[in-house]
Symmetry: C2
Subunit: 212 residues, 2 copies
DNA sequence: CGACTTAGTGTCGTCAATACACAAAGATGG
DNA sequence: CCATCTTTGTGTATTGACGACACTAAGTCG
C-alpha cells in the first residue's frame, strides 16, 4: 500500500472576518445562514476548500461568492480545529482577516449578497458555530498588526486625509491618540505622500495623501 | 441531503520545526523518511491529524512519536496548501514552531528516535516535500517573535546565566548585541529573577538566573 | 462679516536604545 | 605565589521616539 494514512480526512474550510470603517467605528461583515445547521443565524463568510485550490484562494473566492466583496489584503491568523465545532462532520477552519474601504460596500446592490450585512462590533447578533471565538481572535490579531500603519490603507479610499487615517488607526487600536503626535509618527514612518489636492468639506479643506 | 459539501476532503497534517541551541548556533531537528515518497530524505517531523484530535495536540503527539521530544511551547505560524506539495494526495500542512533546551536532546538514547538528528542551519541536507520552504518561514517567524525574550527560556536550562540568555537571543535574531545594553534590556523587561547561585567555569563565576 | 468648526503646526520632558571602557573574580602556569 | 588571561559585570552620554500641551489658519454657514 503506497499510502498508510487510514484515518478519514476532515473537511477544510476558510472563514473570513472582514472589517470596515463606518462612521468611525469598526464593523464586521456577516452573512445569514440559508441552511442548516444554524439556519437563520449570522456567521462569518467562508466555505470549503476545493480540490487543487490554495487556502488563500479559497478564502478570496468564498468571500467573493458569498458577499461580492473583493479583498485586497487577506491575512491568515489562526486555525480552529476543535472536534464538534461543526455538528455535521469534522471541519478544520482556516481563519483569515481582511480590511475593506467603506466606499466599496455595495452589498445591498448585489444580488448574491442579499444576506450579507455589516454589524457594529458592539451590536453583534448571536453567531453560528464557534464564530464568536474566531471573531475575538481576529480582533486581537488586527490590533496587534495595526501598529504598522500600512494595513490601514485598505480601510480607506485610495487618497485620504490625515484625519481619516487617524480615525482608522484609533478605531483599530481602540483608543484615541493626540493629533500632533499621530502626524509626527506618520511623518517618521514616511509611509504616505502628500498630494496637491484638497477635500472640501464643511470647514477648512484637508490635504489629501496617498500611500507612499 | 443534510450536507452539501461534495468535494473530496484533503488530508491534514501538522509539521513541526523544532529548534535548539548547540554550541551557540541554532539547530533544527529532522527525521529521515523511512518510506516513500522521499524515502531516505530528511524532513521536518510531522504527521496526519487523527479523528477528534486538535491540531495543537496532533503536532505535540507527532513530535513525541517521531522524535521522543516533548515540546513545551508550540506555536502555529502558517499553513501550506499548494496542490501537489505531496505526490500521494492533497495534504494541507499546518506548521508549528517549537524551541527546546539543548539539555533535553536524548535523541540517540531513544529507540523510536534512531532516525532523528539535529542539523545546523548552515549544513542542511536536501529536504523532502516543500519542507525547505516551511523551514524558511519558521525561521522568519522565530526571528519576529524573539524580540520578546520570554520564548527564549525554552532554549535554555531552567536556570541560566545572562551570557547564555544573550547567546540565545543573538542566535535567534541573527546578530550580536552589546553586553551592557542587553542586560539593561533584560532589567527593564523584569522577566528574570536572580538566584543566589553561581556557575563556576574556567573564569569568573557567573550568576544564575531563572524566569521571573 | 462674525461665529464656528476642522486642519494644521512646535516645544518640552521622559524614556528606551545605542555606543563606549574599565574593574572584579577566579583559573592557569611559570 | 604572583603575573597573566579570560569571562563577568557595571555607568554615562547621546540620540531619537513618544506623550502632553495651545494656538493659528482656512473655509462654511447663518
Amino acid at each position: 500500500m503506497a499510502f498508510t494514512y487510514a484515518y478519514p480526512h476532515p473537511a477544510v474550510a476558510a472563514d473570513i472576518a472582514v472589517f470596515t470603517l463606518r462612521r468611525g467605528a469598526l464593523h464586521v461583515l456577516l452573512i445569514e445562514r440559508a441552511g442548516e445547521p444554524f439556519k437563520g443565524a449570522w456567521a462569518l463568510p467562508g466555505g470549503f476548500l476545493q480540490p487543487d485550490e490554495e487556502l488563500d484562494a479559497c478564502a478570496r473566492r468564498e468571500l467573493r461568492e458569498e458577499t461580492s466583496v473583493e479583498a485586497e489584503v487577506l491575512v491568515h491568523f489562526g486555525n480552529f480545529s476543535a472536534p464538534g465545532r461543526d455538528p455535521r462532520e469534522r471541519v478544520i477552519s482556516v481563519a483569515y482577516l481582511a480590511l475593506l474601504a467603506s466606499d466599496e460596500l455595495r452589498l445591498a446592490a448585489d444580488t448574491d449578497a442579499a444576506q450579507a450585512q455589516w454589524f457594529a462590533l458592539d451590536a453583534l447578533p448571536e453567531l453560528a458555530f464557534d464564530h464568536a471565538t474566531i471573531l475575538q481572535r481576529a480582533l486581537a490579531a488586527l490590533g496587534a498588526r495595526a501598529r504598522e500603519v500600512q494595513p490601514l490603507f485598505a480601510l480607506l479610499p485610495p487618497r485620504f486625509t490625515l484625519s481619516q487615517l487617524q480615525g482608522a488607526y484609533e478605531a483599530v487600536i481602540g483608543e484615541e491618540v493626540e493629533k500632533r503626535n499621530f502626524r509626527k509618527m506618520v511623518a517618521t514612518l514616511a509611509c504616505v505622500r502628500e498630494t496637491e489636492d484638497f477635500v472640501h468639506g464643511a470647514h477648512r479643506p484637508a490635504r489629501l495623501y496617498e500611500p507612499a
